[in-house]
């Protein structure tokens, strides 16, 4: 059995990769060029607001190289979780980029687009039918929380990719997808083992992060055989070691032995990691355990208000010692000032130097050895105007607050900026993180096949 060869370009589309590594990958004649473009790590804002966390020009740079090489050599380019979150506006952003590349390079591309944003009315029906269950430790979903969600996407497995690949596309642009799916689908379609294909996808989706030294912006090459897969870094500066690959299996997972995904989980209990050459690693023994019924993960976000922040610091030892009394005093003064006018708001003082990073989990929430503190004053309210008002009031009150033992009567805060207050804009929270039962996993994710760009024609021009 010939090995199935996969070129993974970068950990997230738009994070970049060295051209030398990409060319090294192309010399190995890959059957597939694939990249994962998504993550929930940057938080709920991007999904909710329909904004990509990756930069448009950076995404275009990566795609230009991948698509030009793919078309020139007849290798499909498959992209998972378009635009970072995979919602309709995210998919649209990346589709525009691909159309632009096709136009600029005079390419005619067969593009398969897989949609993953779900209709909320459909989801309300599924919720009522008891087909949506919480993904612990997320709370149960209410009809209200679903209705309030700005956007809900489902994470597709390999089935929609398999459907899209049947049209022999040059490029597959998928909405929200299980990270390994864009790497695994074509291998599975060609008859390679599903468990191995998904497991290598799980590693390739982070590209060179599984090497030493690791990198989120370098390529990685994967080979799938009959009963194994192997990984090879494409930069001479990196090595895959059994430890680096096994260690990557832990990354961002609750349990390294059981990796759940659409329609089942990977079981790694019998996995072995062997050093093949100095810089390549072979993995065997992965199992796939299907779930009954088939479930996909839903992700949704809702807007909870608007935020304004002010950044400041203090270098006054007396103020540092009194910081809790000061923030309590400011909070009370602001509440009193707007009583009956603005009452529904969230005012927070993040105190860096004490517990700004770990909050309630901080084992040493004290300022005993601090010579300075960083302070973020944050107001979140129903409108930007209200958030501005609360933030400005807290900031000006704190600046001139008279506290016990105060010597610095000219002002309590050092502001690095003018203006001192910043609009952070809309604030979102994750509202849906649940499993949806489905009998036909491909049907949730409609595939649209279109031709984009055009062949440059000297005669016509």
């Amino acid at each position: 059995m010939e090995e199935f060869r996969i070129l993974s370009t970068t950990a997230i589309l738009g994070y970049g990769f060295p051209l030398a590594s990409f060319e090294e990958g192309m010399r190995r004649k890959p059957h597939l060029i694939a990249v994962d473009a998504g993550s929930t790590d940057p938080g709920p804002y991007y999904l909710g607001a329909g904004v990509s966390f990756t930069d448009r020009d950076a995404v275009k740079r990566d795609l230009e190289i991948m698509i030009a090489a793919g078309v020139a050599h007849g290798i499909p380019v498959v992209i998972g979780s378009a635009g970072g979150s995979g919602g309709a506006p995210h998919l649209e952003r990346d589709r525009e980029i691909i159309e632009e590349i096709a136009r600029e390079k005079g390419l005619s591309l067969r593009l398969a687009v897989i949609h993953s944003e779900l209709d909320k009315a459909f989801l309300q029906g599924e919720l009522q039918a008891g087909r949506i269950t919480p993904l612990e430790p997320a709370p149960p979903l209410s009809a209200e929380a679903l209705a309030a969600s700005s956007r809900v996407v489902a994470q597709m497995g390999v089935e929609p990719f398999l459907a899209a690949l049947q049209s022999n596309p040059d490029v597959v642009l998928a909405g929200r997808a299980y990270d390994p799916a864009c790497f695994a689908a074509l291998a599975i379609a060609r008859g390679y083992d599903m468990a191995l294909s998904l497991h290598i996808g799980k590693i390739l989706e982070c590209a060179a992060i599984c090497a030493v030294p690791g990198s989120g912006s370098d390529c990685m090459f994967g080979y799938i055989g009959a009963d194994y897969f192997r990984l090879e870094p494409l930069s001479p500066a990196r090595k895959c070691t059994t430890l680096s690959v096994a260690a990557h299996t832990l990354y961002e997972k609750s349990n390294p032995y059981i990796l759940p995904g659409p329609g089942g989980h990977l079981d790694l209990h019998a996995c072995s990691f062997a050093q093949e050459t100095e810089n390549t690693v072979t993995v065997r023994g992965t199992k796939f355990v299907p779930s009954e019924p088939y479930t996909v993960k839903l992700e949704g976000a809702r807007r909870v208000g608007y935020r304004t922040v002010s950044v400041a610091g203090t270098r006054d030892p007396v103020m540092i010692a009194e910081i809790d009394a000061i923030t309590a005093g400011v909070r009370a003064r602001v509440a009193d000032n707007f009583r009956g006018k603005i009452e529904d708001y969230h005012l927070r003082f993040i105190i860096y130097g004490r517990d700004g990073v770990m909050a309630d989990m901080e084992p040493h929430p004290v300022t005993d050895n601090c010579h300075e503190l960083g302070i973020i004053i944050e107001a979140t309210a129903a409108t930007q105007k209200e958030a501005d008002t609360i933030c400005a009031s807290a900031r000006s009150t704190m600046l001139h607050f008279g506290y016990e033992g105060r010597r610095s009567t000219a002002g309590n805060l050092a502001f690095p900026y003018s203006p001192s207050d910043f609009h952070a804009g809309e604030v979102y929270e994750f509202s849906v993180y649940h499993l949806l039962r489905t009998d036909e996993p491909a049907d949730l994710f409609p595939v649209e096949v279109l031709t984009v760009g055009s062949v440059k024609c000297g005669v016509c021009e």
């Binding site: 929930t40 790590d41 940057p42 938080g43 709920p44 804002y45 993904l135 430790p137 997320a138 059994t242 430890l243 096994a246 260690a247 299996t249 832990l250 990354y251 961002e252 997972k253 609750s254 349990n255 390294p256 032995y257 996995c271 072995s272 990691f273 909870v304 208000g305 969230h346 927070r348 993040i350 700004g356 990073v357 770990m358 909050a359 309630d360 989990m361 901080e362 084992p363 979140t380 604030v427 979102y428 929270e429 994750f430 993180y433």
Partner: protein, 105 residues
Amino acid sequence: MKIALSEITEVIRSKNAGPYELTFDIMFKDYAWFERVCAAKVFNKPMAAALFRIPLEDVLGVVEFRPAKAIKITIRRPIPSGNIGETDVYGAQQHGPLIDLVIEI
């Protein structure tokens, strides 16, 4: 004997595992240290709850992963990623108390 965890490990890190969980990876320098720490049962749910000042039921798992000579602790996030009141959206800076930790083995 008492020893600082930072002296016998190569990696100590934290990260989100989805928006509702935080996961900590402790990877040892060699199998000898990994086996000794596992044998001494240093890491367990009550220990993790005390270290991170969270309720015992919020410690979701403590798993020994031999292929990476690693121990993984997964907890429920005190506040889901990005919610109002949150301090670390990626969850990548919650590992500090593990670096400071002195263990008895």
